[in-house]
Amino acid sequence: MLLDLAARRRVLFLGGKGGVGKTSIASAVALSRARAGQRVLVVSTDPAHNLGHLWRRTVGDDVVRLDTAPSGGHLDGVEVDPERTTAAHLSAVRDTLRRIVPEHLGGEVDRHLDLARDAPGMHEAAVLERVADLTEQGLAGYDLVVFDTAPSGHTARLLSLPETMGAWTDGLLRRRDRSERLGAAAQMLGGRGEAEARRDAEIRSVLTRRRERFTLLREVLTDPERCAFVVVLAAERLPVLESVELVEQLSTLQVPVGGLVVNKRSPADAGPLLAARHEAERAHLDTLRERLGHLPLDEVPLLGDDLVGPDALDRLAGFL
């Protein structure tokens, strides 16, 4: 299911409870598409990055080449670092502010921005910024982008942000409209102008640029032709319940859900302990089918060895 889906979409999000194997599944599907000749980018947004461990190399906030396929396809990877994004963003603001405030107040600027760095939402906004950025880059320079996301709650929140922040910028733009209309009226009656008008134009352009970014991301996220969300889970009680909840949240957000991947399925024929697990898992899968029966589902068996490197990923992709 997952491989077919990946072949028909431009952007895939993989999400689910922590520890269910999102990173491995994401890399497996990405590698398989690269082997099929596509240009693929895999992005980890989980603060606990594992992409590097999986590929036995350092992967950071800059895009690196993970694999080149003989078919001409290739796989790139990146681990999003929100702190670096925040720092770069704030330092740009700092430079501008330093230029306009009197020199002896430079310290004040620094203090205010240090305060802002730890403000609630800063981190999320930085992740969102990178996701928007990599989605744009991905649509332009890759055939497929696979996002390996943070555990469910964070991700549902992240995906709701473009809409929330869009509403926020809209609100501010409306207030600017009002302010500018009043300013224009006062100016017509002989008030002052020029500098104020220039500032208005700048504020408006900053807000509009943000607004456009949110709109674009939201369009991609909710477009069933280009984007799909795949929930990865283990056949256990809590992951099943959490997945049901996640699918509900995603449908509220109008993010198309492409299917489910049940990872680490215990075998029925490998000793009594695993056979008992197999039975217990079946009961949980029944619950899952009852609630989310309309979604296609892949089952990946529990594998004996550690999942590291391209060979293991190829094997994993065989089950998708």
Binding site: H89, E108, R178, L182, G183, L189, G190, E202
Partner: protein, 85 residues
């Protein structure tokens, strides 16, 4: 004569327009104050969920802070982390 007449006309015009202009300017100033407060929310102790986006507008409102606190009759900026003079 023509000069005197036009000066009188300008005076009358100003007499008529000034109150309107004042009203518009005041309403606009209120709007801008609100906008400045949104951008400076953190400094006022109001948690701001959008600070990532408001900080980039700080440079655009920074010079308004001084005008704002002097207008309110305060010699120094009342905001702990934002001072301008």
């Amino acid at each position: 004569m023509a000069g005197t007449l036009s000066a009188v006309a300008a005076g009358l015009r100003e007499l008529y327009e000034a109150p309107y202009r004042r009203t518009m300017a005041r309403a606009r100033r209120d709007e801008d104050d609100l906008f400045t407060l949104v951008v400076l929310a953190e400094a006022l102790g109001v948690p701001n969920p959008a600070s990532y986006y408001t900080v980039e507008m700080l440079p655009l409102v920074a010079d308004r802070v001084h005008e704002w606190h002097t207008r309110l009759g305060m010699d120094r900026s009342p905001l702990e982390h934002v001072s301008c003079c």
